[in-house]
């Protein structure tokens, strides 16, 4: 059914700016200022989607974030948005939307078969069946999954950008309705730094959809003026289309601002689509308004059943007729205001059906004066129609409210405007940790006790009248400003507020048959198709905690998060249990208030900016040399330098060969470097390393192992004594931050009186390792002021001088087992030193080598790598490094742990070398070792391979392994059952190459 449902005049739409859009493939027209929902209604489109479980026809039910039904798939391709609420989508030219959860079309949906079987599909039906045979659940599940879900996920990368902004303020005002505007006005006039945020494109909140008057101005106009005044203040930040979605610890709040959605997919040229504001507020004013509740009555889900205030808003704000003949169904006075507005807009009100027997307030009187029939003490017992409501049947309600009687009176209508009262939007208050209280008079939860520095004002505080909202809002804004040291400004606005009489608490409106007995369904939660019978069933079956009931029935778990259903669901549960509502409790609200895109949560930290890639001063050279990189921590390190046609294996073998036979060069700048100064530096070294440091001479270096207090090796490195009380410590690349933090922690937390300063100099020095038999030859050319002879400059010594004309620290250390020098120069000169070495080294066939070759070279020497051999479970003894553990030292970090009973077990996993019987087989790292192959698992494992390579120098494969009791097992054969074969290997020493260390000391 379509047609023109636009009112001839009125509304806040711009009739001079028509917009074309497409819904389910059909072209329609709306106006600027429309929401997708209002535009659909104006075109007479009332069937919008299908429900989650029963696939029942559904229309537009609300006008804001609380919408449970009208979820659409917005746009297509890369710009698509699943589950967009039609009530929150601002119309733009060319908008494309489709219904969800229906096949083949929303008009004729195959899934509707579920509605026919509804009788055997009560809440939790799936817990009671599909159990046999057990392996069949997956088959049932396949169909259940396809029937569930709503929209479709995008399949291509998002073309839009997102970002974030930290912001601090004195007062954050959440919500820009009457209370929020008043609060922001008060706070901004005081001079405070204020943020005002509202989820809509326009400030005013409830004022936009009603015909209130403030200070003799129409409400919406008053709102526009106030918003303009507030925005002019330079200390105020005004955010539209910005939802305060989360209230976290210590007055930290999240706001998501949608900057371009209202412009369409390509409308926001250059702008970010959404911005996440991260607010730290000294004071918060919550002015989040309230949400109307429906009544729970028979078949209350048919398209055409709509919240009364939403219907009113479609007429007043959007100039749209939500129907051509309406019945209003209510338990409170507020809906009479809606009825009057609808009538004034030219929509005939067939009747107002009021659950209360006695209806006397000023608003009902006004309605009666207009000749609207009021059926007090009546109820809608049935709705008729399928894809659109066509009529209702009204019957008398008994005083107890549990039965209808008399002859049903059929009233033709295509709109049922329903109101079950109002729920304050206490989500943010509850997220902040505030405690709620149930108010028996107003039939809703209101804030009771704050946990954080926040004030609720207006409807979210249970004060629904306009004058009260303005008063409370202004007072809250002023009080917040005063609390942070500003002076409260005077105030003045006036508004009328009709008195209201009490609403009637009737949580399930009886139908013609008892609830759950006929085909009629009393929906509590439209989004998840949860009925009153479902809630009662949960209570009957013992799911008595409200959390049990929610989980059993899925009440409130839909995309609307139960905004219109939570209170009624709770009340029905309480009724079933025979307890008052406060005893059954409420659920705690968690962020987000409304769904937030992952894009906004991630911000700009995607793509190129997703990670920090730390680069060395020589990085550009490696790039030019076409190096392959590997990440080590955040560093990018050259892994190998393939020449044309080389694969990694070939490149690594060539690089290793260069080091073993002539000269290799490596960028070692990423090593951690720490300067230690002070009289207690040696004391510190004695505690953090396992070996003794008292007798290290100035200009000499020593290798050290660092243990955690649990006795496990966590880092290693070489430390050099530079002066009397001055040491220079190096760490692994990955462990640099951890080691520096470790030293700082002990000095600051435990050894406060020790006189040592630790300063990280990792980034000050570029370090180049020269390794190979020709290393000294090259050094001779580049360095004239250091005596490089083995006697004058032995292994594990350090000298200062100039290398290639640059001021340098030169260390004789080696991780490759070859003669080696490590030259450190200030980082700015690192590239210059590298190039000088490359040029001078050309005659020796100098080859840059990467981390992969380094790993092979050190494994040939049996040197451990932290993270491979030392995997956090290995002690120095396990690694065969007892020689470095100072047994005479009274204490060092981790020492006591080494004496624990499990640490001295003989069958601990110990580091060994492993040679495969077939020298051509390179074992996979991580392979498990067994003593005996059994016909089938389980098999007792005795160890695993930690490192494994092809060794060019030895012409065969080598491996390091941790093997149970391995130190005493040299010479024994073990088995390695791989995926496709079993490999035999012999345990031996982990040092494969130059065990005497002659080359090192050359």
């Amino acid at each position: 059914m379509t047609g023109n449902f636009r009112l001839p005049s009125g509304g806040r739409i711009d009739r001079n700016r028509p917009l074309g859009f497409t819904f389910n493939g059909r072209l329609y027209r709306g106006f600027a200022g429309d929401s997708l929902a209002s535009a659909l209604l104006a075109n007479g489109v009332t069937l919008v989607g299908r429900s989650f479980k029963y696939h029942r026809p559904r229309g537009i039910f609300a006008s804001g974030a609380e919408e449970p039904n009208a979820l659409v798939q917005l746009e297509t391709g890369a710009h698509t948005v699943p589950n967009a609420k039609a009530t929150q989508v601002e119309l733009y030219e060319g908008l494309v939307a489709r219904s969800q959860n229906c096949w083949p079309t929303v008009e004729h949906d195959f899934g509707q078969v579920a509605d026919l079987c509804a009788k055997i599909l009560p809440a939790g039906f799936y817990y009671k069946t599909f159990m046999w045979p057990s392996s069949f659940w997956m088959k049932y599940e396949y169909f259940i999954r396809r029937a569930a879900g709503l929209g479709r996920a995008p399949e291509s990368p998002d073309p839009d950008r997102y970002d974030k902004m930290h912001v601090h303020c004195d007062v954050l005002v959440a919500g820009g309705g009457p209370a929020g505007l008043a609060a922001a006005l008060a706070a901004s006039r005081s001079g405070a730094r204020v943020i005002l945020a509202d989820e809509q494109g326009e400030f005013g909140g409830s004022l936009l959809g009603r015909r209130d008057v403030i200070d003799d101005l129409p409400g919406a106009e008053w709102a526009a003026r106030m918003a303009a005044e507030i925005a002019e203040n330079p200390e105020v930040r005004v955010l539209r289309r910005a939802t305060v979605f989360g209230y976290y610890d210590h007055n930290f709040l999240g706001i998501v601002e949608r900057k371009t959605d209202h412009l369409g997919p390509n409308g926001g040229q250059g702008m970010v689509r959404e911005r996440l504001w991260k607010v730290r507020a000294k004071q918060v004013v919550l002015a989040t308004g309230s949400i109307e509740r429906p009544l729970v009555f028979a078949d209350n889900d048919r398209p055409g059943v709509m919240l009364a205030d939403a219907a009113r808003s479609y007429a007043n704000r959007f100039g749209t007729r939500p129907g051509s003949r309406a019945v209003v169904f209510t338990n409170n006075d507020g809906a009479y205001g809606a009825a009057i507005d609808l009538a004034d807009a030219g929509i005939p009100i067939a009747a107002i059906v009021d659950l209360r027997a006695d209806v006397q307030g000023p608003l009902p009187t006004k309605a009666r004066e207009r000749g609207i029939e009021v059926l007090a003490g009546h109820a809608i017992a049935a709705t008729l129609g399928s894809k659109r409501v066509q009529a209702v049947e009204v019957m008398l309600l008994n005083p107890e409210g549990d039965k209808v009687h008399g002859t049903p009176r059929r009233i033709e209508c295509d709109l049922v405007a329903v109101s079950g009262g109002w729920s304050p939007t206490v989500h943010l208050f509850s997220q902040s940790g505030g405690k709620l209280r149930y108010c028996d008079q107003r039939l809703c939860f209101v804030p009771e006790r704050s946990k954080q520095v926040e004030r609720s004002a207006g409807a979210c505080n249970g004060s629904f009248g306009l004058a009260d909202c303005l008063d409370e809002g202004y007072a809250a804004g002023a009080a917040a400003a005063v609390a942070v040291g500003f002076e409260a400004p005077p105030r003045a606005f006036s508004a009328d507020q009709p008195g209201e009489t009490a609403p009637r608490a009737l949580w399930v409106v009886p139908g013609k048959a008892p609830v759950g007995h006929s085909k009629a369904k009393h929906f509590v939660d439209l989004a998840n198709d949860v009925t009153a019978a479902d809630v009662r069933l949960a209570a009957r079956e013992g799911y008595r905690s409200v959390e049990h009931t929610k989980r059993y029935t899925t009440l409130g778990m839909g995309p609307d998060q139960g905004k219109t259903s939570n209170v009624a669901g709770l009340a029905i549960l309480a009724e079933s249990l025979g307890k008052p509502i406060p005893e059954v409790g409420t659920t705690t609200f968690r962020p987000p208030y409304t769904p937030v895109t992952y894009g906004a949560l991630a911000g700009s930290d995607v793509g190129d900016l997703s990670d920090v890639d730390r680069t060395t001063p020589i990085h550009d050279w490696h790039v030019m040399a076409a190096a392959e990189f590997e990440p080590v921590g955040q560093w990018l390190r050259a892994r190998h330098y393939p020449k044309a046609g080389e694969d990694m294996e070939a490149a690594v073998q060539r690089e290793c060969k260069a080091v073993r036979q002539s000269l290799g060069i490596m960028d070692a700048s990423t090593l951690g470097k720490i300067e230690l100064r002070g009289p207690d530096a040696v004391k510190l070294l004695n505690m953090v390393y396992t070996n003794a440091w008292d007798n290290l001479a100035v200009g000499r270096s020593r290798y050290g192992l660092m243990l955690g207090e649990d006795g496990m090796v966590f880092d290693d490195g070489v430390t050099t004594r530079l002066g009397e009380n001055h040491y220079y410590m190096t760490t692994t690349t990955g462990g640099a931050a951890q080691v520096f933090g470790w030293i700082e922690e002990w000095l600051q937390c435990e050894w406060l009186d020790w006189r040592v300063w630790a300063t990280s100099v990792t980034e000050q020095w570029a370090t180049i390792a020269l390794a190979g038999p020709r290393a000294r030859d090259l050094m001779h050319e580049l360095c004239k002021d250091i005596d490089l002879s083995p006697a004058a400059f032995p292994h594990m010594a350090m000298r200062s001088g100039r290398v290639a004309g640059l001021p340098a620290r030169v260390f004789r250390v080696s991780f490759s087992g070859e003669l080696g020098f490590e030259v450190s120069v200030p980082s700015s000169s690192g590239l210059a030193l590298w190039i000088a070495c490359m040029m001078a080294g050309a005659k020796y066939g100098i080859a840059p080598y990467g981390t992969e070759a380094l790993h092979v070279l050190r494994a040939e020497k049996g040197f451990i790598i932290v993270g491979q051999e030392a995997d956090g479970t290995a002690t120095p003894i396990d690694l065969g490094m007892d020689w470095i553990v100072g047994k005479k030292k009274p204490d060092f970090l981790g020492k006591r742990s080494l004496a624990r009973s499990d640490m001295v077990r003989r069958d601990r996993k110990q580091l060994v070398g492993l040679l495969t019987k077939d020298p051509n087989i390179v074992l996979p790292e991580g392979a498990q070792i067994v003593d005996r192959i059994l016909p089938k698992p389980p098999m007792k494992m005795v160890g695993h391979v930690t490192s494994s390579y092809w060794s060019g120098a030895l012409g065969r494969s080598i491996a390091l392994a941790l093997v149970s009791g391995g130190h005493k097992r040299h010479g024994q054969t073990v088995q390695l059952p791989l995926e496709d074969r079993v490999v035999e290997a012999v345990i031996g020493s982990p040092v494969f190459y130059d065990p005497e260390g002659k080359r090192l000391h050359a």
Partner: protein
């Protein structure tokens, strides 16, 4: 217990579903039980069930501070797998996985165990080696897990960015076919109903406020509803295990942290396989169509179920690195649980220095999948007074001897122990 089936559904439909009875009773606590289990979560209820079903010990109370199944069994990502590194863990979790298979039938309650397969991703060389080591060990322990190549991963998970330019390149992964997910609440309810029908008293809203001893042995527990005497008391209180143990004068190698998870709005099925990654803890799609993201823990000790936004931002960024097309999808709901993280990321199960007082705690972020196995072995432990062989290595003594069962890598938990 009236059996559930399609026939009982149909029969009850005729009575408008008004004939269903309580799934479990709400009894007043008796003055004395053979066994009192502190904590009505998954592990506590499963323990009670197996005590009654396997060991004939029916005079059992499960005392629960709030509502049954309201702790971490209600606040997890429902992932079930057994691909752990150490033999000890692998055997225990695999026992659990075996019990999962027929659990719905055994409990006559559909736990919706859906073994849809699970992939662990490796994004760097060391991650790949770690996976290879785990897979090799699992294979030799008879647990079917295999390595899979990036091309195969890309085929199975089209939304995953497997390009070489990705921030977290996919270098490979492991595949466990029999892993999957289940409906988390159903597990607690199923055990509760089955235990209740065998005579176990499940006492909700009954907080334990003290533990009484006589000499060196347990005497019973003081609760908000009075003293309950028992010769055997078991602490199965997850996030609150430290609080309860302190009542007995015991300090544990455990810190409680908030762990968050969050879900998207419901979407039509598109992500079948469960994916775990060192960059992001876990991702799967529930039967309702929600994408469930597990997030790991907050850094500081906490007994609050409210987590921070920073953490969500961080995890979401990691998720978008892996799944770039997800950025227009929206987070619908998040939750937090209080997890008890032990020093080696493995549970602490067994005796305490107080005779008759037992522990089954420290499951941290990995407890859900273990519920059947934990309950089964722990019931044996309580019934015999000696640890079941599968849990013997998990005793408190290991922290004295140093025989740790480090599972930081495989548990998917960050190292949070300080």
């Amino acid at each position: 217990m009236r059996r559930y089936s399609i026939w009982s559904l149909a029969r009850n439909a005729r009575g408008h579903h008004e004939g269903w009875t309580e799934a479990w009773r709400s009894p007043e606590p008796k003055p004395e039980y053979d066994v009192v289990i502190i904590g009505g979560g998954g592990h506590g209820l499963a323990t009670a069930y197996y005590l009654a079903a396997e060991h004939g010990i029916r005079n059992v109370a499960v005392v629960e501070r709030g509502w049954l199944g309201g702790g971490n069994v209600a606040r997890n990502t429902a992932i079930i797998r057994s691909n752990y590194l150490h033999d000890d863990s692998a055997f225990l979790y695999d026992k659990s996985l075996q019990l999962w298979r027929d659990l719905s039938g055994e409990l006559n309650f559909n736990t919706m165990f859906s073994p849809r397969g699970l992939i662990n991703l490796a994004h760097d060389k060391s991650g790949l080696v770690e996976l290879a080591r785990r897979v090799a060990a699992l294979r030799l322990n008879g647990i079917r897990v295999s390595m899979i190549a990036p091309e195969e991963i890309a085929r199975r998970i089209p939304a995953l960015d497997c390009s070489t330019r990705a921030a977290n390149p996919v270098l490979g992964g492991s595949w466990q076919e029999k892993a999957g997910i289940a409906r988390h609440d159903a597990v607690a309810w199923g055990y509760a109903r089955a235990a209740d029908s065998r005579g176990v008293d499940i006492v909700q809203n009954c907080e334990v406020v003290g533990i009484r001893r006589e000499g060196g042995r347990i005497a019973g527990v003081d609760t908000a509803r009075g003293f309950i005497r028992a010769r055997t008391v078991a602490i199965v209180a997850a996030g609150h295990s430290g609080v309860v143990a302190a009542m007995a004068g015991i300090r544990l190698p455990i810190a409680s942290h908030t762990m968050q998870a969050y879900v998207s709005e419901p979407l039509k099925p598109f992500a079948h396989t469960v994916v775990m990654s060192p960059a992001l803890v876990s991702l799967n799609q529930s039967d309702k169509g929600e994408i469930v993201i597990g997030m790991g823990t907050e850094e500081y000790n906490s007994y609050s179920q409210q987590g921070s936004l920073t953490h969500i931002e961080y995890v979401t960024q990691k998720m978008l690195e892996l799944y770039p097309s997800f950025s227009r999808i929206r987070m619908l709901r998040k939750w937090g649980g209080i997890v008890d993280v032990s020093a080696d990321a493995s549970p602490v199960i067994g005796k305490t220095p107080v005779e008759g007082l037992y522990l089954n705690v420290g499951w941290g972020t990995g407890g859900f999948k273990a519920i059947p196995g934990s309950g089964w072995t722990f019931a044996h432990t309580l019934a015999r007074g000696e640890p079941h062989p599968l849990v013997a290595p998990f005793g408190l003594e290991r922290f004295h001897s140093g025989r740790m069962i480090g599972e930081h890598g495989a548990s998917g938990s960050l190292e949070r122990y300080k």
